[in-house]
Symmetry: C2
Subunit: 459 residues, 2 copies
């Protein structure tokens, strides 16, 4: 292991400030590491206790040899001292979850912390004022929020670095509810050492990360970030959401993580130049990331809509056009094949409307034709589940067709509890699903733009 | 009763085309009326069966006296004949759920239907090609989709008329998942008799309807709709989503409900002129409707953000400013009161950040101060549930404060399953909740604009 690996693949982890009291941060982190299924050695550090959650305590981190990762959850004022102890113990990596540093204007203790860090330049530090790491596959979970209150995401292809802990963790919770998979989540807080640029470089080399999501407020090392972003984007798509784009937002951002938010328009232009994909909302962040991580790049902008509800097709057509995409017009021979299997009422122009009589078989046939059709670049399936003839196999057929990765296939399924359960089945198999046509269209546009940048668009 | 009342408050309902076969539309409607708890007389009409779902069949509608409402679920070609029978029986109102008329270019049968309707001008007809009515309070449910597949909304303050059945019903399903209340839902389909303008007039006089939502594709009687919309808006806010705004969407719309979609810009301008609130997506439709139906009108554009997560406040501040609203700055005396109860780290500028140490008590005090503060017009509470000190009472305190209806109070709570459960508690008590700051800000803007039109804005 080297560099940032110690944060994601540690074999020995200490929790400094571990506690037996149920609501204490040092207790919650211990519990969560256990719950996450961490298979390495987990050591609580607390000078006043003998055992925590059945694990033997040590009095100080200096008693631990070959420590890969220390998680520090003690009051700000003693953090510098603890950092020195970690350094003396030759700890490889440290996460400081404690708050109360430059983000609240406490510069004295921040300087002291920084000085302590400088004394041990080989020891990497994440934070302070952060939630640290969630890496489901390796059972690393330093988020100090209990599982009852904050869901954890399944293992996936998207990695996500967030400056704000609250934003990051609530998005993890939201994504978990939707069954969106996350590979590595990093809350980097005040970034006194490990910063967003280095995380980009690291995640770009990570084979499991297909897309990087970023939430940032400040742009301290803006030029470096953009330069790195441009380089990384050639290999791994980056979707970025920037908080603090208005003056008011900036004022809030300054006090929040101690950063100065950049000028909105400049930032927007800069992201575009560096080919980072800008999201305008949390939903877009994950919408774009899901499509970019799970779909092949597209060769063009022609989208075939296949639907069982006319009204949704109207809105989808509107949204595609408004996003600069086009409706595909199927080759004549394929249209003729299609006519043999769809109902009399079905519309067979630029929207294939299978109507309320749609069956799984019709969806399958229509999609297979669209996959081989030369006039079609991307496929938007609108599947409204209420039609009585549509059986439960529809989601598994879609998953099978999607797995071929011939052309992008995404799904719009509006509506309630039953549909959500069907969408989760698809999400777990990496089929991007959407509730509303507008979100689907915006995401296909993001995929088209990125495909253009990567030189994949042929027409 | 008179006019459209027979659709919403019938005492005797017949289902023509009722069936014993589980998947048949005529069976589903019978089941749903029973499940919805209809307390009047429900009569299946089928010449070949004696009993359906335990209820005695009649052979023809002509055997029924004083029929308030007939629901017709038979093939298109025999609908004209059935309509004549309904007319002969002096039926007050008819819903034709059957499809296969002008929406698929079948003009012969459409003309025949129209002719039959003309013979009985006093009998009101909804449809054809529609889902009919959902009026939870009176147990009227003609939506031919089973409860397992399509959730039903709780009783509420928003009424919703939709041209498209698929759009309407999936939105009902979605709203039910979110616990958004709906008063009367009407899918009006091809609108050969009862049309959107008449529905607007009716719902405007309905005391239980606080906001009217519309989904329309065509604008056949555009000028009349806009004129009526302008009149109704002075009393009841109308939120409208128009499908088919692009050329491609229009092509899809033409075939879908047989209507010609209007020109996008013209339509937009027209809505604005008539003070109908235009929504750009399904989510906005319900977001705007929830805020307009549950909040008092605002006296100004100054919004106080109260939060326990800095990152969300940054995004909320951005979104408010981008929507032309302003951040409030609390009166000095109130700020001083506030300082006594909030933690040291808390930011007390134009955003009240209670930080991760926030308690229910702090939220309550801060909101009470904001309610009486002269510099504050609206309150945006951001409540991220993970903070450990925030107990379960927070939602009940918010409900209590909201019930006072002194100023608009809306809530942003991002994240997953636990939070959703808390948001549902608030929704059921009419507190509008949002997952993302952007949606909340857009909704407050809609409220501000409508308040301006109603002459309530004082500065």
């Amino acid at each position: 292991m080297k560099g940032l690996d110690y944060f994601f693949f540690p074999k020995k982890v200490a929790v400094i400030g571990a506690s037996e009291k149920a609501n204490k941060i040092g207790n919650v982190i211990m519990k969560n590491m256990i719950k996450a299924g961490f298979k390495g050695k987990l050591i609580p550090v607390n000078p006043k206790t003998k055992k925590i959650l059945g694990k033997k305590c040590v009095k100080t981190v200096k008693e631990i040899n070959n420590l890969d990762l220390a998680v520090i959850a003690v009051p700000a004022k003693i953090v510098p001292k603890i950092i020195r102890e970690c350094g003396q113990a030759k700890t490889k990596a440290v996460i400081i979850v404690s708050a109360g540093f430059n983000e609240v204007g406490n510069m004295t203790v921040t300087k002291e912390l920084f000085k302590a860090m400088q004394e041990f330049p080989d020891m990497r530090v994440l934070g302070p004022n952060c939630l640290g790491i969630l890496h489901v596959k390796k059972g690393i979970d330093t988020l100090f929020l209990p599982y009852e209150r904050l869901g954890r995401t399944p293992h996936g292809r998207i990695s996500f670095a967030s400056q704000s802990g609250a934003v990051g963790s609530t998005l993890i919770d939201w994504a978990s509810m939707k069954s969106y998979g996350i590979n590595k989540f990093i809350s980097f807080g005040n970034a006194l050492d490990v910063n967003v640029t280095e995380l980009l470089e690291y995640l770009n080399k990570d084979k499991e990360t297909k897309v990087i999501c970023l939430y940032i407020e400040g742009l301290e090392e803006g030029r470096k970030l953009l330069k790195t972003g441009k380089k990384v984007s050639k290999n791994t798509p980056i979707v970025v959401l920037k908080g603090g784009v208005t003056e008011a937002g900036k004022t809030a951002a300054v006090s929040h993580t101690g950063s100065i938010a950049g000028e909105a328009r400049v930032v927007k232009a800069a992201f575009k130049q560096s080919h980072m994909v800008e999201a305008k909302s949390f939903e877009q962040l994950f919408n774009f990331a899901r499509v970019l991580s799970n779909e092949p790049l597209t060769k063009g902008k022609k989208v075939q809509i296949i639907t069982d509800g006319g009204g949704y097709a109207v809105l989808a057509a509107d949204a595609l056009i408004e996003n600069g995409l086009e409706l595909a017009l199927m080759e004549k021979k394929n249209l003729n094949s299609l006519k043999k299997i769809v109902p009399v009422f079905a519309e067979l122009k630029n929207v294939i409307d299978l109507t309320g009589d749609a069956t799984t078989e019709m969806y399958k046939k229509a999609t297979e034709l669209a996959l081989k059709d030369k006039n079609i670049d991307m496929i938007l399936l609108i599947v409204l589940f209420p039609p009585p003839l549509l059986d439960k196999n529809i989601v598994y057929e879609i998953i099978k067709l999607h797995k071929k990765q011939i052309k992008p296939i995404i799904v719009v399924s509006a509506s309630g509890n039953y549909t959500e359960s069907q969408k989760k089945i698809m999400e777990k198999q990496f089929v991007p699903t959407f509730t509303f046509p507008k979100d689907a269209a915006e995401s296909l546009k993001a995929l088209y733009d990125y495909s253009l940048f990567r030189g994949k668009v042929k027409r």
